[in-house]
Amino acid sequence: MDTLLLARLQFATTTSIHFLFVVVTLGLVTLLVGLQTAWFLTGNPKWERLTRFWGQLYVINYVLGIASGIVMEFQFGLNWSGLSRYVGNVFGAPLAIETLVAFFLESTFLGMWIFGWHRLRRGVHLALLCGVALTAYASAFWIMVANAWLQHPVGYQVRDGIAHLTDFSALLTNPTLGMAFGHVVAASLLTGGMLMAAVSAGHLLRRTPDFLLFRTSLRIGLVVSALSISLVQGFGFAQFGPVGQVQPAKFGGGPERDAQIAEWTAQFGPGDYTPPTLASVGLGFMILIGFGLGCLWLLLPLLWRDLIIRWRFPLWLLLLALPLPFGTVILGWLAREVGRQPWVAYGLLPTERAVSAVPAGVMLASLIGFSLLLGALAVTNWVLLARAAARGAADPALGRPPAPEADDTPRQPVLA
């Protein structure tokens, strides 16, 4: 096996793992802001308990988001050094902005939010969570700016074989950015909402205590997922316009594709410029599932008089449907990323020129090592998540009040 194939496999594996976690992060953090705001405004302890329970699941999920994200970030330099060499001047900027604007603050705020219960004023504590949510959206936005640039390079000029930035605003108005960002955010809300609905359904089916609590989160989760599936569909179809225009070789044939391939052959020499069919397969299944999930709307009327809970089988449906959004986001990314082949930066930098000059054996070891490491951690993380979800909202560790104990030892100054 050659280094290129191994590097591509490694990127596909690690990003897929990363995305399975961040899609939940983005969705749940939005719902949590709603829950904690309701607690702040009403002071009703029900909302506090909901915030603690869902917050606990959110924080466990977050762990793997960070761990896999760090691998993603290093992978560009480790395996794709040609990417930074030829297009780093342009592609690097949104990534640098992302780390400084988003991740840095996000982690700092999250640490304070986790440890700030009972220590910070409630308004400050809520503000921290809002900060976490805003920075999470910012990180999704900037990574999509970077990804959209790879899909359709704009705002640059090539001098001495290296791309230089000429117009940053073109990166922000990239036709492959807007609808894709909306689609990703809507898919995240859908996933977060379906997770909330499914976990609540599990508790209602097992008739655990806290009926009222899980009834509330079932309703929130269901309404949010129904609204977001429509957004997902809307943004999804809206992507066909720009994609067909700037990436004629991506899905399907036609004269545009032939013209594009003739142009590339003239410019870069003969080669195979059609993307693998995997891209169109991914697209097809995603759209199929996307229409199927539209049935979420049919469950909404059953909220009337709690029919959805009394009939029970809708709860089973929600539970069984939970893997669908996760599988679908991977299909969607396969469509987008495999459809970009054989380019790293569409029509500008062929994938094989971007890969690092690392021996294949080393690359294979790193592929196996990171896949096993992240895979094992991902499975462990889901097991811990499932256990925490099953344990219920009786006393999550997150936000547990400290033991009442007198503290009268005076604080010492540090540098004394």
């Binding site: 990417l83 690097g92 640098a96 991740f103 230089h164 951690l377 547990r400």
Partner: protein, 335 residues
């Protein structure tokens, strides 16, 4: 302009070694075993700062990618094994610390603690080896690429890795001396005093091996800095020892912070004006100016960084202020 960005890059990496070093130091010290309660206290002492510490690495690599793209690619792929080792360690620590308290059984928690120990060791050895590798130069070819990874396996790189592990362990111990309740703090103070000679020996060995190595001597572009900065590192360790003996843990901690920041300064200053030194063909080295992104990119990022960095530092300072002081029975516990 490149110098300013190089300094900012150094600042972020140095902050990462100081703050991330806390995480790995506390992590390494979990290897002492101790009661479950003692291990939990150590992690509670670290608790609120942990996420904010780790993210300095993410930000440092972000700056590296944005402002020095060419360096990013060649640095990470050129030192592949060291970077991958450190990265695996970072991931194990990140996951281990945050997940160890989710299972309720003591056995599972002890298992996760071992994951944290292994991860901390890997991270410290990996970053130490990377710094050592940078000081020793690498076989850059005329077209600016590095092929192969064998150049990394030298005694100096190994010594640098071990020195980093020793420094990090000492750093963790001085931090716990400051943060744990007085009785437990006194015990870690004794441990820290015993770790100072270990760290001195490890740093001394790395220095001597480096002085004996042709490659390291040839790679040093600024001999004055290459001699002065290791001496400053030794001085910092001596200050730490004196402060521990006089029961001034705050000063000891300040000294070990300096000891973890100095290697970054050493790597930056000793090789100036090069960002990567070529051992095979001196002319093939990558200078800082050549490694930097082109002017429009740097200018764009500059407008962003100027207002942002004070805000970033401010929020981190807020975190340290809110959770300052020794932990006690009322300290928030999560991992």
């Amino acid at each position: 302009m490149e110098l300013a960005w190089y300094a900012l890059l150094g600042l972020f990496f140095a902050s990462y070694f100081v703050l991330g070093g806390l995480d790995y130091g506390v992590g390494l010290l979990l290897a002492r075993g101790g009661t479950p309660a003692a291990r939990r206290d150590a992690l509670t002492a670290l608790g609120p700062f942990f996420l904010g510490n780790e993210v300095w690495l993410v930000a440092a690599v972000g700056i590296l990618f944005g402002a020095f793209p060419t360096l990013e690619g060649e640095l990470l792929s050129g030192y592949y094994p060291a970077v991958v080792g450190a990265l695996a360690g970072v991931i194990l620590v990140t996951a281990g610390v945050q997940l160890r308290s989710r299972p309720a059984t003591a056995g599972a928690r002890a298992g996760w603690d071992r994951v944290v120990v292994v991860g901390s060791l890997l991270a410290a050895l990996g970053w130490g080896a990377l710094l050592g590798g940078l000081l020793q130069g690498l076989p850059l070819t005329a077209d600016g690429h590095v092929t192969g990874v064998g150049h990394l396996f030298t005694p100096f790189v190994a010594a640098a890795g071990l020195a980093m592990a020793a420094l990090v362990a000492l750093h963790g111990a001085t931090f716990l001396t400051l943060r744990l309740p007085p009785a437990a703090g006194a015990a870690t103070a004794r441990l820290a005093r015993r770790l100072v000679p270990v760290a001195l020996a490890a740093v001394g060995t790395a220095t001597v091996v480096g002085l004996l190595s042709d490659r390291v001597r040839a790679a040093a572009q600024q001999p004055v800095a290459a001699v002065l900065l290791p001496s400053a590192l030794v001085a910092a360790l001596l200050v730490a020892r004196a402060a521990l003996a006089r029961r001034r843990p705050g000063w000891a901690f300040a000294a070990t912070c300096a000891a973890l920041a100095l290697p970054v300064l050493l790597v930056g200053a000793a090789r100036w004006p090069y960002a990567l030194v070529s051992g095979t063909d001196p002319a093939a080295g990558l200078t800082v100016a050549d490694a930097a992104a082109s002017t429009p990119t740097l200018r764009l990022l500059g407008w962003l960084v100027l207002p942002l960095v004070p805000a970033l530092l401010g929020f981190q300072a807020m975190c340290w202020w809110v959770f300052r002081g020794r932990i006690d029975g009322r300290a928030p516990v999560y991992w």
